[in-house]
Structures are given as C-alpha cells and as structure tokens.
Amino acid sequence: MADLRTNFAGIESSNPFWLASGPPTNTYGQVAKAFDQGWGGAVWKTIGEPIINVFSRYGSVDLGQNRMMGFNNIELISDRPVADNLKEIAEVKRNYPKHAVIASLMVESKRETWHAIVKQTEDTGADGIELNFGCPHGMSERGMGSAVGQVPDYTCQIVEWVKEVATIPVIVKLTPNVTDVTYIARAAVKGGADALSLINTINSIVGIDLATFEPQPSVAGKSSHGGYCGPAVKPIALHLVSAVAGDPKVTIPISGIGGISSWRDAAEFIALGAGTLQVCTAVMHYGFRIVEDLIDGLSNWMDERGFRSLDEIRGRALPRVTKWEELDINYHVLAHIDQDTCIKCELCWTACEDGAHQAIRRLPRDNGGPVVEIIEEACVGCNLCAAVCPVQGCITMREVPNDFPAVSWKNYAAGTGKLAPRSSQFHTAAWAPRRAQ
C-alpha cells in the first residue's frame, strides 16, 4: 500500500488532500466532517475583517450533460467574526491534532494589522498560515487580495511583515490574473515565504441571460466579474504550477490548486511538482465524500505502478516541460484510422478539412468500405482528428521514424541540424476552383 503521508514545508498530513480555502471550510462542523471522511488538511475560509456578502453568489458553466464544468463566484472572504473563526480553528486543531489546519488570512495592508492577525492566528495552534493574495473580486477593490498579489513589491512587503512575527509556515496563495506568475512567486520567496499555493480563481463572467441581458450570477439585475474555477481551469493551473515549480529561483514547496476533481488530476499536479493538493469546487459539487476515491484511486495507481511514496512521483513530469525551441522538429507522427472501429461519422474529415490541413480523404458511403482515409503526404500529425473522434482508440497518432537526427528549432535556426522531409501539400488558390466544380 502506497505511503500517502505528506510533509509540506514542515506541515504534516496523512495524505496530500487538503480542502482549499472557500465555502467548504467556513465552519468547525464542515472541517470536522471533512476530516472524519478522510481529508488530510484544510485551509480555513479566509479570515479578515468581516464582510457583508450579496445573496446570489455563484455562476455555473455546463457542458452538455455535465454540470459545473466551470464555476465562478462573487463571494467574499468569511463573513464571520475573526474571533469566532479563530476559536473554531483552535477547536478543530484540538480535536484533530494529526490533521493539517491552515488559516487563510487577508487584512488591510498595514504592518501592525498583519502582525496582530498573525499573532492571534498562532495562538489557535494552527499548523500554518496561507496569505490570500489572490481573491480577484470585491476584496481587490478594497486594496486586498489580488490587488496585493498582482504587484511583486506589495507581495514581498506583506510577506516580510508576516514573517517578522510568524513562527509557523507561511504559504502565499498566488493569483493567476497576472502576465507572468513567476514574478510574483519570486517576490514571495524574496519576502521569506515558506511555500506557495496556486492558482486562485481566474477573473470571469460566466454568461449573460439573453432574455434580460443580466450577467450571471445576477444580483438585482447586475453582476460583477467573479473568480472562475472548477474542472475547466485545470489546464491553466497545471501550467502555472509547472511554471513556478520549474523556476530555478523558486525552491519552496508548492500546493496545487485548480479544478482538481479526481485522483488523476491530483497525480498530474504532483507530477508537475505539487506537494499537496487543494480542492474546493469538486467538494461543492459532490461533497466531502470524494476524498475516498482521491485516496483509493491514487494509492491503487501508485501500487500498480510500483511507486511507494509521493516523493517518487513529485516533479516527475517537470523535466519534460520545456521551451518550444527545445522540441524535436524531426519527430514525425501521422494519424492512423482503425477502420474496424470507425463509426463513419466523418467528424475527423470535417475538422481536418476546415480546421487543419485537409489531410483526410472522403470516400463514397455507398461503397460499404471505409469513408475516410488519411492523406499521409498532407498530414502534419496535429492530433485534431484524434481529439474529435468519438470512438476511443479509433484514431491514433503513430510515430513515423526517419533517418534524421533529432533537431530543435534553436539548433536548426542556428544552422546546426537538418530538417527531415515533411508534409507540404496545401490547398492553395489553385485547388479552390477544382473544389467549386
């Protein structure tokens, strides 16, 4: 049985699955229930000077039958008094000493205010502090949240203030709403952060009601941009985690956040360098119970693959994330259609013809044989046909070896290395008239 125990910047938990700061970690009752069901840790809903929320707070993006593929919110930080939150954190920590309890904090940008809240927080026995420098809505208008996290100097300054008094690990939560997240990450490191967590939510408007022209979620007919999260944001989060984890100037642990719904998602974040995983939207959708399969699935997969601990997976994919200019331009793949499993929908043809390289030939349906075939001279191996094909494993991309040594664009542009012959058939103007006939 794989060992899922985690030590993250000195914070220990029985597994890497933590609840992210948000609605599921608003109360003692929720966090205690989550721990009973197996969560390794929880980052408390951000504590600060209590706010007043609007009622309508969440907007959702469905994809076909699947609800909440994307999700946004205009909810602010905790609306409960600081003292109540701290009392409950202390109670949770007392009753669940082996679980990681992290206090998420956000106060106005004054040194003494930060000092005060950090000291109060430490008195609860919390294992760590997460600085919410990422909330993109509401709080940012008041000079907090992403207003801090979007400016490297502010980030560094506040981390320094916090570190002046903090004795427990300080995690800085980063906003994705910046041009290059590594600048903020480095600023946090410079300020003395013990760890990073990312991503916070992404600025978004989830939709407009076309009957009323109200943006969603509508508050008396109007809305405001909100933080986008859920499965839809996972690729963005994976990229930003890899960018930070792969930055040689960032050597502190990273807690991965963003659309994690299954153990597979979790494994991907770990492979890109995440030490712990934080989950919110999936819990808001399906409840704390999902942790059972997060643990069971990850551990079964690790057993099957012979991985004994998370350290053996952590960062394993990172060396494979590289600059485009380093990629081998002599590596050729071509699409292959398995005619036995093809259901003749011709989606691949449509996609390739209009959206890619016109590398699929259509054959008459009445022949009874194949209706699509790859034109290998035209195929650039782009993967589009395999992506649109509704039959698993029907279209596969197959490597076509050549005698040319690997060459990167960097080397090729510098004049070293030879380019292997490649597809060069295009539907030019000369082709278009034939089509019209």
Partner: protein, 405 residues
C-alpha cells in the same frame, strides 16, 4: 421423443451468447460519467446487499477499476454473477433517479460487470483471510448463500469447510441460471476467488445430519437451497418427454449445446422466471415451437415483466387460463390435454411450477445453527442469497465472540 436440434454450432453459440454483452471501455466511461452520484442513493437502497453504486460508478469514471471492484465485492461476494443475472429492472436500475427525469437509467449491471470482469481478467486479490481465530464453521451447500457466508467468515479468520452434494460448487449459479445470462465458467471463476481465501470445499457429499456436524464444528450454516421441482399430479406425468425445468437447464449448462435434447414442439407448464428460462432456452436450442401453458391469467404471472417480454421476443407462445388435465401419449409425450378438452400437440413437456423444500435435512433449533438463501427465504435471487450469507457471517462471527464492524 425429443430430437436433437437442427441449429448449426455457430447458430447455437449465437443463441446462447450473453444477452447483455459487456461494455467497451469507451462506453463504460461514457455511461459512468452520466451517473449523478446521488446521496443516499435509491439504487444502493434497492440492492439487497446495498452496494454503494454511485461510489463504484464514480471509480469507473476516475479510472480506479480496482477500487470500483472492491466497492462492489466487499458487500456482495457474488458481484460477478449479480451483474449478469440480477433482476436490475426491479432493483437498482428500476430505482435510478434518471427514470424520474424520463430517461433511461444508468446501466448499473453492465458497469458492475465492467468493473468485476477486471478482477477475473487481472486476477486481482481484493480480500485477505483474517488472522486465524481457531474457530471452525461448517457450511452446508456451496451456493451463493453458503459461499458468501464462507468468504466473510474467512475474512474474519475462521476456518471454513463447505459441503456440497453436487460435483461442482456454485449452486444454481453453476447449474441453473439461463445460459445467455450467466455461464458456468464465470460462476466457477467467481467461486474460485472465494475458495482462494482458504475455504475447504468438499463436493459430492450430501449432509444428512446437522447435529453430527455440530460435534466437530463451532457453528453450522445451512444454505442448501430448495428441493426438486414439484409434480403436477396429473396422469401421464411419468411419460418419457416430461422433464422438470431445473434438470433441463442443468443438462444444458453441463453439456455441449448440441447434446441437450429438445422437443420439436415444447410446452412449459408454469409462468415464473424459471418457466421463462426454460421456454426461451428450449426455443434457442431449436424447438420449432415453445409455449408457456399457465392455468391463470397474464396479470397473475410470477415472471418479471421484462422476462415475459424476452420470451415473446424469442417467439415463444403463451396460453393463459389453460389448466393441464392430462398428458397424453403412447409410450412418449404426444400432447397436453387441458381442462377445456383441447389438446396441445407436443413432444416435450417441461415442468416449472416451483420447487419443493428439501426434506432430507432437518435443521435443528440450536443457537449454533444459522440458515440463509433459498432454503430460508423460500426461493429468491442470487443477490438475496448473497445478502443473507453475508448477514449470517456477521451473526456467526458475533456468536463466535468476534466484533462486527
């Protein structure tokens, strides 16, 4: 007299192929992702073994098939055969909330098969015997009830010996489920998985005294099932060509299809689920006509509605309000005479009017003796037998001083 059927081997194989073929990986993933993951799920409530259906389906969706199979087999040691032979239309799938959205329910049975097939395919060992307790339990009958009980007793660490009268274990799973639903090799593989936990199996032994077993064992579980098919009690029943449904099905399941004799015109008396199994399989073996004769009306049939539909789809005939009076024939069955005076010409009559209880074994009233399965519930599904076997194992474990989780 029944004659060998006229189908080719290929036709016979097709006729007895799985009526619900397995899902491809692709289809299983799509289907699994349709599940809403209900809380306090009606499907789970409807299952006599209370398999956590949404949990196992979500594990298929997440790609955790080993975990999925464990969720199924933990509460139900007969998850393989139940996936094939359970009347899901009236259990989990019938309870699926999607029915209330006027949609087809989640294909729970096929998803369950998808996950559990992987156990046999990869030879996963999902369960382990418990630390030996030194206690010994005898189990009479190697059907689903007895073996479900055996598995969980082994998981608790008790030594288990199973006595079975037949040459093969599995009970009706091996000998009595319609061939197009569950084949004997699957039933036996499922049983082997249980035996591999260290269950001692003694076949070919008919236990006649529970009291005697109690001299040797700390507890006894009796799961002997029901007895032979009841007799009609009408003249002509002894004629060659009259056979009881269970004997007919058992022959079919233990011989190459071609070797099971079937009449040209077959009449099945009775209208329960076993009657349906008999009439459809007679048709699939090659009978030119196969007809259910039932003394009451269509609405009184004991068979599930979907079983009735299946028989009609197979081209079987139905004669309702037709009371058999006499089997006619000179040295062999030639027809069934009804009380109306009409005679239905036929050369084979299959009796499916229910099984009697076993009389060869009396179960003493003793705190060390437990029962379950058909012999205790009067005859129900595999899933009921499995549930009762599992419950009995808990009670026995408790009785032997163990702590039940």
């Amino acid at each position: 007299m029944p004659v060998p059927n006229a189908f080719t081997d290929e036709q016979l194989a097709a006729n007895f192929a799985d009526i619900a073929p397995p899902l491809t990986n692709d289809a299983a993933l799509l289907e699994a992702n349709k599940c809403l993951f209900c809380h306090d799920a009606p499907c789970t409530i409807a299952c006599p073994t209370h398999i956590d259906v949404p949990a196992f389906i979500k594990k298929i969706a997440s790609g955790n098939l080993r975990g999925s199979a464990r969720v199924i087999l933990d509460p139900n040691p007969f998850g393989h055969s139940c996936a094939r032979a359970c009347p899901v239309e009236v259990l989990c799938e019938g309870a699926c909330v999607l029915n209330d959205r006027d949609e087809a329910p989640i294909k729970i049975a096929l998803l369950q098969r998808h996950a559990t097939d992987k156990v046999l395919e990869h030879k996963w060992k999902l369960f382990e015997p418990g630390t030996p307790t030194g206690k010994r339990v005898a189990i009479v009958g190697a059907g689903p009830a007895g073996l479900a009980c055996a598995r969980d007793l082994r998981r608790c660490g008790h030594a288990v010996t199973v006595f079975e009268a037949k040459p093969q274990p599995g009970g009706l799973n091996t000998y009595g489920i319609a061939e197009y639903k569950l084949k004997a090799d699957v039933a036996l593989a499922e049983v082997q998985d249980i035996l591999d936990l260290g269950v001692e199996l003694k076949t070919g032994i008919t236990v006649t005294s529970v009291a005697k077993l109690l001299e040797e064992f700390d507890a006894v579980f009796v799961g002997v099932g029901l007895g032979s098919t009841k007799k009609l009690g009408i003249p002509g029943e002894e004629l060659p060509g009259v056979i009881d449904a269970l004997t007919f099905i058992e022959h079919l399941k233990t011989h190459p299809y071609r070797e099971t004799p079937v009449g040209r015109h077959v009449v099945v008396i009775g209208a329960g689920n076993t009657a349906i199994d008999a009439v459809t399989q007679a048709k699939r073996l090659g009978a030119a006509s196969a007809t259910i004769v039932y003394r009451r009306g269509e609405a009184d049939m004991a068979a599930y509605h979907y079983e009735y539909e299946l028989a009609k789809k197979d081209g079987c005939g139905f004669r309702f309000n037709a009371a058999p009076q006499r089997i006619v024939g000179n040295g062999a069955v030639a027809g069934l005479e009804l009380s109306s005076g009409e005679t239905i010409p036929c050369d084979m009559i299959i009796l499916a009017i229910g099984q009697g209880t076993r009389t060869e074994l009396t179960v003493p009233s003793d705190p060390r003796v437990f029962t379950g399965g058909d012999c205790a519930n009067g005859g129900a599904e595999i899933v009921n037998a499995a549930a009762e076997g599992v419950t009995a194992a808990k009670r026995i474990h408790e009785f032997l001083g163990g702590i039940v989780r």
